[in-house]
Symmetry: C3
Subunit: 351 residues, 3 copies
């Protein structure tokens, strides 16, 4: 299945661009990113048009990148600004550039037609840059198709088996679970009524009660952008009075079979407690690197060189409804984009 092109993909955590250059493969395209002196983000093919070597093997010279092989230099829009060994060359070459936006603590790249790159289409992850929240961020890499992460995060019934150390109280089947679709957005909503509070949570959350109301919704946007606004509040109070621990799980295809996983986890309590920040950060890494990651990679191994999970006729359970819907929506949009591209190329051929 091809990738949806006209879409914003997360390509880096913003802090990664403190380095002179970052090179990463996104949707099978090797892309060089850097931040210019004015703070804008440049993104272009990481391939010199002269010898095809990676520009990232060269160096930054001011707001340009200089190829390390023969010195050709390119500006932030990908245009060639210097060819030192052949200054009279008539048509300066350029490399493809990508619309890039820094928002919510990450770098978003538009992989399709530049004129359609509208930053308003980026789904909101306000908490990441909200001063009321303490936030940790990171990035991991897995050998699995990006949609397997959507399945994983839209169906939190797995928590009780894959993350037993996070399991508190009753089984998933006893929670209230609802599916909600708003335009291009899918919500898998989950309420945990009368959720038992453990000793350690009681202290960390500063709630002196035995049970709380809980919410563990998951929101999906294409390609595999998950927002999980976990919250707990005392019975009789409102969610705004409770503790909130929202997380973002932003999965970007590297190739059909490998994914980048950018994550952020925040909290609206004890924001200055470095120990909680460290524990949260290590907790996400531990859970994904040792539990979800190996499980999802095992799934891809069983699928082999295939990316459409539903083609394999899996058993589909009630809790899979949101994941299946996300897969169908994405598949439909990809087909539409393919048809559009075919129609456009036929129109050109007919001229």
């Amino acid at each position: 299945m091809p990738f949806l092109k006209n879409l914003w993909y997360v390509a880096a955590n913003a802090y990664e661009l403190d380095e002179p250059m970052v090179s990463r493969k996104i949707c099978n395209e090797q892309i060089l990113m850097f931040r210019t002196s004015s703070g804008e983000v440049a993104a272009m093919d990481d391939k010199c048009p002269h010898r095809f070597v990676k520009l990232s093997l060269g160096k930054r010279v001011g707001d340009n990148v200089q190829c390390g092989y023969h010195g050709l230099a390119f500006g932030r829009d990908g245009s060639c600004v210097d060819m030192p060994n052949d200054p009279e060359y008539a048509i300066p070459p350029c490399v493809k550039s990508y619309p890039a936006v820094e928002r919510y603590g990450v770098i978003w790249l538009w992989m399709g037609d530049k004129e359609r790159a509208d930053p308003a289409k980026i789904p909101a992850f306000d908490f990441i840059t909200d001063p009321d929240f303490a936030v940790s961020q990171g990035v991991s890499h897995y050998k699995a198709n990006y949609q397997l992460f959507t399945d994983n995060l839209l169906d939190l019934s797995h928590v009780h088996y894959l993350h037993p150390h996070l399991h508190q109280g009753a089984q998933f089947a006893h929670f209230e679970n609802k599916l909600k679709v708003e335009g291009d957005t899918i919500w898998s909503m989950l309420w945990r009524h009368r959720y038992p509070v453990t000793e350690s949570s009681r202290e960390m959350w500063g709630m002196d009660v035995d049970e709380v109301e809980g919410q563990g919704h998951s929101r999906w946007n294409a390609p595999s952008l998950m927002y999980v606004p976990t919250a707990f509040w005392e019975h009789g109070k409102t969610i705004d009075e409770g503790i909130q621990s929202p997380s973002a799980h932003l999965i970007t295809p590297e190739t059909e079979y490998t994914s980048h996983y950018f994550w952020a986890i925040g909290r609206n309590y004890r924001q200055d407690d470095e120990e909680i920040s460290r524990r949260n950060s290590e907790g996400v890494k531990f859970v994904f690197d040792t539990q979800d990651g190996p499980m999802i990679e095992s799934q891809q191994q069983a699928m082999g060189l295939s990316t459409d999970f539903l083609d394999h006729k899996p058993v589909i359970l009630k809790a899979d409804a949101a994941g299946v819907m996300a897969r169908r929506m994405l598949k439909r949009w990809i087909k539409e984009e393919q048809r559009e591209a075919e129609a456009a190329s036929e129109a050109i051929a007919a001229e």
Copy 2:
């Protein structure tokens, strides 16, 4: 070349099932095995029908295996016995199971039609569980097609060159060698008359003579099951009065290009001498890991992505007769099985 399906394949040494679960790929199928509380062996596809992850990433719950992703549990016959997050699901899924028999110290799996799985077809390797013999067992893995091990073990002329430290006395060409076929069984029979006894053998065997009569037969059964009842006895006495050191070499295809090699080596003398047991055990491992293994893997490398050695028109020597016969028999049976399967599917289509 496809694998012969209606056949018993060795999938594990019996002692390996002391672990809660063993997962191994046999003939390209990933199979989960475990021993139930009543001692029976369960064998099933190591793939949950819900998300296709390996069941072996989960855990044993009594005589069932529980998937580590969403908790589906399967009994020893592969039927689903628990779906904790979706208890009302109408048609419980199940995974394919395999007839399994524990015999001669190893686990045998039937890879074809269940109704044809007759344990009587398992060739005899009595010595492994015979109390008169001290036996060591082990398992190795090689990057070579399973039939290359048949060639190796049916032609012991290689011992003089590949295992010079085991070489005692005259060259292979001076031994008596005969081929015998009994139904589906091939014997490459080898007699070593007036075989010189080394100082160390004299002591170990407890024979105070300079020469002995020796026998180094190899017996083949499909797919690549070798029985090598090595024996030495004093001239004028019978083989039953001599020392016996039978070995089993049970090779099972993991894939077309990789093999599991289960081995057992026994002796009818000094059964309690741990030092001899240790030396025999290390000897088999040393010889296969550093001598036969690399040589056979080199052969596979030269063949590339091909499995039928004879297609490559090798030079065939006198000592290759048994190996060539085994290859031809196996090829014929595979063809017959293919024809049968085609006829069956045509019959179904015609209905």
Copy 3:
């Protein structure tokens, strides 16, 4: 693109044959080489015709090589000289042998029709065995097509960017550069007028001047044999009075995507200074292993499973003229050889 067959390829440095055997893949063929007691070089397929294992896993027995599996032995021309376990075998097998010549400190193999193997066609690299020069030799391995090394060494404009530590003085664009074709030989000629002399060079070269005349020609012969007779001399004197530091870069395809790189670097000054020898030797290794090597491998990665760089429509600069010409000549010769081979096989078919 296939390899040119009727050509001499460098397969080893002469000193490597001090070992009993050397096995190396050349143009996709695994070749065993050894030096006989009379000093001649034997080269043959490293594959026993009996079991296809590498003969190099066996051992030398006098001027023969004995297979390590069943003891078949082969003489220097590839003919079978011993079959110990089957002495009555009628038609002794043999392995393909290759015409081999030791010249200029390296071993040359002819990969095509034996009757056309004319040592006179080996291009000259006299300095390697010239007693007036101190010479260091070595060999490296890279994951890139051999022609990418031709591009690299025929266009020395890269030195200023890829090897800035070697850069002395003005940019490449300020040098005099000329292309010269002599039969099957291409020269990319480069003069560095008024080249500034650094403090360290002044001492090493023993020249007490601020500027010198310099020459950095590159000579190409197929497949990718480069001779780079670097020289510097005082203004007003002749090149023969100057210091000379010729180098040879002899690149041989291992496969379409990997290459052996045999190198030699010499000097006509301070020939006995071990420290300069060591520094030169390490310098070549350092530059190729950490600068040219990674850059050229990055180029191959961008090309994927493709070998014809020009097919990818790169930007071509003035300094690429010699490299493009070498590629076109080689491509033409390969096409001619292919046509010749087709005509020959048609003629045979018509008989």
